[in-house]
């Protein structure tokens, strides 16, 4: 039976590229805001670009805060992208203090605009940047096993996730003086700060690896 992928639609961000990536890899993905549909999916993707509190509000409205938690409880694979990663954390600095889904303990912080005297590190960070393994071998048995240390991925964000427990930090990236978490993993939850569907073939490989990891 073909696997069902649900891309969670909470009216924020462009979901079509995520769908294109799934299509390209041969997975039938449905864009939906229905928690019931989500619960029945074999794979779930939580994408997003935009403001944290806006997102949380919309998730609430659609009943998706519970919906996502319920889905995660089933142990089925969930992938978060960009804002989708940030929403998994406990709370965000954006607009004061906004609570998140609290599936991964930690805080979402804002990039400071830094200058090294020569140039300004602009915010949002919009560029290709490299991902690093926190320690050697960390990526084995994760969707990042298809990557090499220093692979370039496409980032676009003003905030970054800071999980309390480094166990969950799957990849790190440096921007200016700031080294931050660029991917997380916790049981069936996998999330990237970068956009794998915008990172060329290397990014598509991550999708592929994620799909395969949980293919039975």
């Amino acid at each position: 039976m073909p696997k069902k992928v649900v891309i969670i639609d909470y009216q924020l961000g462009n979901l079509f590229s995520v769908k294109q990536a799934c299509d390209y890899l041969g997975y039938d993905a449905e864009i939906s805001f229905d928690p019931e549909k989500l619960l029945r999916a074999d794979y779930a993707i939580l994408p997003g670009v935009g403001a944290f509190n806006d997102a949380m509000q919309k998730l609430k409205v659609f009943g998706l805060t519970e919906g996502i938690r319920d889905y995660v409880k089933t142990g089925k694979p969930m992938m978060g992208i960009c804002l989708g990663l940030q929403l998994l954390l406990s709370d965000s600095e954006e607009f004061g203090n906004t609570p998140g889904l609290d599936l991964i303990p930690g805080r979402v912080k804002k990039f400071e605009v830094q200058s090294n005297g020569q140039r300004i590190y602009k915010v949002p960070q919009i560029q290709w940047n490299t991902i690093s393994e926190p320690e050697e071998g960390r990526w084995r048995n994760t969707p990042l096993n298809v990557c090499k240390q220093g692979d370039f991925m496409y980032f676009v964000h003003s905030f970054y996730a800071s999980p309390h427990d480094t166990r969950y930090v799957l990849a790190t990236t440096a921007y200016g003086n700031q080294t931050y978490c660029s991917a997380v993993i916790k049981d069936n939850i996998f999330a990237t700060q970068f956009h794998p569907e915008k990172s060329g073939l290397y990014g598509l490989n991550i999708y592929k690896a994620w799909f395969n990891q949980f293919a039975k």
């Binding site: 924020l12 961000g13 462009n14 079509f16 590229s17 294109q20 990536a21 299509d23 390209y24 670009v49 935009g50 403001a51 605009v113 140039r119 300004i120 590190y121 602009k122 915010v123 949002p124 919009i126 560029q127 290709w128 940047n129 490299t130 370039f152 496409y154 676009v156 964000h157 003003s158 440096a174 921007y175 200016g176 956009h195 569907e197 915008k198 990172s199 060329g200 073939l201 990014g203 598509l204």
Partner: protein, 283 residues
Amino acid sequence: MENCRVIARLDIKGPNLVKGIHLEGLRVLGKPEDFAKYYYENGADELFYQDVVASLYERNSLQEFISATAKKSFIPLTVGGGIRTINDIREVLRAGGDKVCINTAAIRNPNFIREAALKFGSSTIVVAIEAIKQQDGKYLAFVDNGREFTGIEVLDWAKKVEAFGAGEIVITSVDREGTGEGYDIELTSTISSGVSIPVIAHGGPGQLTHFAEAVTVGKADALAVASVIHYDFITNRRSDMESRSEGNISFLKSGRTRFGKIQPASLHEIKLSLHNAGVSCRI
């Protein structure tokens, strides 16, 4: 690490990829889909499609081409030209674009930037500033492919653009555009140093040295490039142009590939030259 993005910019008119000088005199260089595919497969960090006749018709007609690109190219795609309303933006994103680039609509009503940023996210909204240097040395912003005067000074406007919530600025030197004389370093560094959002330099490169210079001296965060890579593309491969019904194809028919001060180079060559000059980029 700060990595400079090299963005392939395609000016599109109807079915054709076109290239002009000072945004004027649009020569047809081929089919945009051929160029886009080649650039995606050969080192482009992003693609940028500008619909150059959209302002005239007051609509952006690239939907089909955007969708076709989005299905096969998995790098960010920015679309500009004739984007006037929230719905226009939605259409572009729905078709598969990742970011939109607005100019006229933003200058006529800066609140549109804010509205769009709130709705779609700041990083989805890129604002283009087309600058023409005046007699007194000031740079003023123009709209409609560098054709309409606004009287607005560019740095003032750039700061406003940032305040209203845009994610990026692309700063075009209309004076340099298509000439191969190099990016306008003064203009680029003024804007890039004056805001804290990313600034993309556009207009003028002709030699490999121009690229690193725009980053190290011009402080650009990203580089848009057109002539250099387009003329490089047509040097080695030709689009089939026999069925063309519109556009100035005299240049293509002539079999020429070089133009003036433009030294054709591939994206790979450009990135290598950046790397050699100490500018970090995705290689």
